[in-house]
């Protein structure tokens, strides 16, 4: 299992469109991917789970990934956070 803490860097937080980017990216991997904020875990392949985290700008998300492609998945997730979830 790999674990990392990542910060939400886009101004408007993880609302519908960033959440869609996350689910689309995570859906490509076999591993189980969990985002945890304020002790609430969310399945990163469920857009509802992700949106309900209500993660605003600056929030810290603990990312846990477990499975055969966990290293690649973590790399992709980190990139997504850095790129502000590709919201431009």
């Amino acid at each position: 299992m790999v674990t990392k803490e990542l910060k939400v860097l886009n101004e408007s937080g993880i609302h519908a469109r960033p959440a869609a980017s996350i689910v689309q990216t995570c859906g490509k991997f076999q591993s189980r991917i969990t985002f945890t904020k304020d002790d609430i875990p969310a399945n990163a392949k469920s857009i509802m789970n992700i949106m309900l985290l209500a993660a605003e700008y600056g929030a810290t998300i603990r990312v846990e990934i477990e499975g055969p492609d966990e290293a690649d998945a973590m790399e992709a997730v980190e990139k997504l956070f850095q790129e502000h979830f590709r919201q431009g």
Binding site: R17, A19, A20, S46, I47, L52
Partner: protein, 597 residues
């Protein structure tokens, strides 16, 4: 209301998109979406599973179709929200629960889905800081679609094939709902919610679909397929019209049609008065796609591009590249004619998601417009960079809204200078001589006009705000609607002051706002020496006909007399007495001016 559903009924709403529509009603939301709890027999579970799977497939297909249409009509960015809708539809966590409810609790597919969506809506509502409030509509959009597929397919609604021409009747319309109708077959729209600046209204206007909003559903009982007349010019809606009503409105519709044909002969003529004074007639637009209308009607440019609509129709700030693409498209499409881009004018009734969070007690005098930009230099600079970059693609002018003192103007110009340096450092080109103007819409700016004029290249007078601030009348408060008098001498004398100052200081001045398209006011403005009038594209040809019919010298002679009058009603009477006959003769006013209030 005890009227039977087949009797004739006239109701009044707010006209939000002009034109006349006559056709059968299509009801979007016949009643509140309450899905009753229905249990199935254990042996039906498998069939219910299949039914839900099919509904989900069909919903996905519909959403994909809308997504493609929106990305073609409006832009990829707007279309991306539909990716979220598809993911909501396919969310495994939700579907597992729904299918379990069908299997274990023997709920019908629609009830199981409805129940789950309601639970989610409650959690959305409770999410910290109202963070997900704006997304309730997305959840509703998905839920309604699936439930509709599961429940409405066998109802009376199916009588109306969507390929037939219809008048859509809805409580409210989300952009996705509106875009699922074929504009060619959508004759008109009636809604309960949504004012002139709602997304529904903006889309209706850009698609040229007549629309009326603000109708109360409690007063209206209508069955699918019943005939409706929608008059988007006056806000009148007639349910079950008599044959006479239909004839009358068909005549109105025809008259408008004939007039359009006649007016289009004017398109390529110059906008000059009888005695040769040029008055630029320009368009006010909200969406880049409206450029097509502007070109269709012919104009001297875009006098006001309300850039905030780029910000209002989405959940997050548009990036520099997206803004640049929109501004560049405008500049290139209109070249060589000028396009005046007004910087973000958010606040008041135009709240930008992600920027405005809490409601203000007095929003029109609150944190809005240039004030928002000056306290968010990041957002402001992003927009200014995009405008500057687009300036080399055509003839672009930049305009700051709601300036109320010199310092604001200087601060805005300082940020503009910083932005120029940043672009230079990035090696990006822009027009170094970009004209920078400001709006005069606060009485303080009228008083300080001389000082402001020395620091800008042009003025544009915003009559709506100037009227509301001068008269201290909230223009959306219906109880004082009769006090909102744009023709008040207090407003008109200020406008004359601004024109005089602009003359002395040698800068051009124009009017953008509803008043510019009022025939009597337009005569007055021409007489005052206004250089340009900017209005909605549909009014351009009518106003060109007017401009060509009046004499500048004659209008100038009237201004002094009019400004001496002491009330709006005296001014109206005076202007009507003097100009009604000539305007009817010139074909600017209808021969039988009953509808001209």
């Amino acid at each position: 209301m005890n009227g039977s559903s087949s009797s004739r009924l006239i109701v009044r709403g707010i006209p939000v998109s002009p034109g006349i529509a006559i056709g059968p009603a299509y009801l979007m939301h016949p009643e509140r979406r309450e899905v009753p709890k229905r249990l199935i027999a254990p042996e039906q579970v498998e069939a219910e599973d299949v039914r839900l799977h099919r509904a989900l497939d069909r919903a996905q297909k519909e959403i994909e179709g809308i997504k493609n249409r929106v990305s073609g009509d409006i832009g990829d960015h707007e279309a991306r929200i539909f990716d979220s809708h598809i993911l909501i539809l396919r969310d495994q966590e939700i579907l597992e629960t729904v299918f379990r409810d069908i299997r274990e609790n023997l709920y019908s597919a629609e009830y199981a889905f409805y129940r789950q969506m309601n639970l989610l809506a409650e959690r959305f509502d409770a999410a910290a800081g109202g963070f997900l409030k704006d997304h309730m509509i997305d959840l509703r959009d998905v839920a309604t679609r699936v439930i509709d597929i599961l429940t409405l397919s066998e109802s009376s609604q199916a009588v109306l094939e969507l390929s037939d021409p219809i008048v859509v009747f809805a409580r409210s319309l989300t952009p996705s709902e509106l875009s699922q109708f074929n504009p060619k077959n959508t004759l008109g729209l009636c809604t309960e919610m949504g004012g002139k600046t709602s997304h529904m209204a903006i889309l209706a206007r850009s698609l040229e679909i007549p629309a009326v909003s603000g109708l109360s559903w409690r007063d209206i009982r209508i069955e699918p397929g019943q005939t409706l007349i929608v008059d988007g010019n006056t806000g009148v809606v007639i349910l079950n019209p008599s044959l006479r009503d239909i004839k009358e409105y068909e005549m109105k519709w025809m008259a408008h049609f004939v007039e359009e044909e006649e007016l289009s002969g004017l398109r390529d003529l110059d906008s000059v008065t009888r005695d040769g004074k040029h008055v630029a007639l320009k368009a006010n637009i909200e969406l880049p796609v409206e450029v097509e209308n502007v070109l269709h009607y012919g104009s001297d440019g875009v006098g006001l591009y309300r850039s905030e609509f780029l910000f209002l129709i989405r959940q997050e700030m548009p990036s520099e590249e997206e803004q640049y693409a929109a501004y560049r498209y405008l500049a290139e499409s209109m070249a060589p004619y000028p396009v005046t881009i007004r910087t973000l004018d958010a606040g008041g009734d135009k709240l930008v998601p992600g920027l405005h969070i809490t409601g203000e007690k007095n929003p029109y005098m609150g944190w809005r417009s240039i004030r928002v930009c000056l306290s968010n230099p990041g957002i402001f600079k992003t927009q200014l960079r995009a405008i500057l970059r687009a300036s080399v693609r055509g003839n672009v002018r930049l305009m700051f809204p709601m300036i109320s003192n010199l310092q604001e103007l200087r601060d805005a110009r300082k940020i503009l200078d910083e932005t120029r340096s940043e672009l230079r450092a990035r090696g990006q080109i822009f027009d170094p001589d970009l004209e920078v103007g400001c709006m005069i819409e606060v009485p303080a700016a009228v008083v300080l006009a001389e000082e402001l004029a020395r620091e800008v290249d042009f003025f544009s007078i915003g009559t709506n705000d100037l009227t509301q601030f001068t008269l201290a009348v909230d223009r959306v408060n219906e109880r004082i609607a009769d006090l909102y008098e744009p023709h008040s001498p207090a407003v008109l004398r200020q406008i004359q002051t601004v024109v005089n100052v602009a003359r002395e200081q040698g800068i051009p001045v124009g009017v953008c706002g509803e008043m510019a398209a009022d025939p009597y006011m337009a005569i007055l403005f021409i007489g005052m020496g206004m250089d340009e009038l900017s209005m909605s594209p549909a009014k351009l040809l009518e106003m060109k006909r007017l401009t060509r019919a009046v004499s500048y010298e004659e209008a100038r002679g009237c201004v002094r007399d009019v400004l001496r009058l002491t009330s709006a009603s005296e001014i109206d009477r005076w202007l009507r007495r003097r100009f009604q006959e000539p305007l009817i003769k010139a074909g600017v006013l209808p021969k039988n001016p009953i509808s001209n209030t």
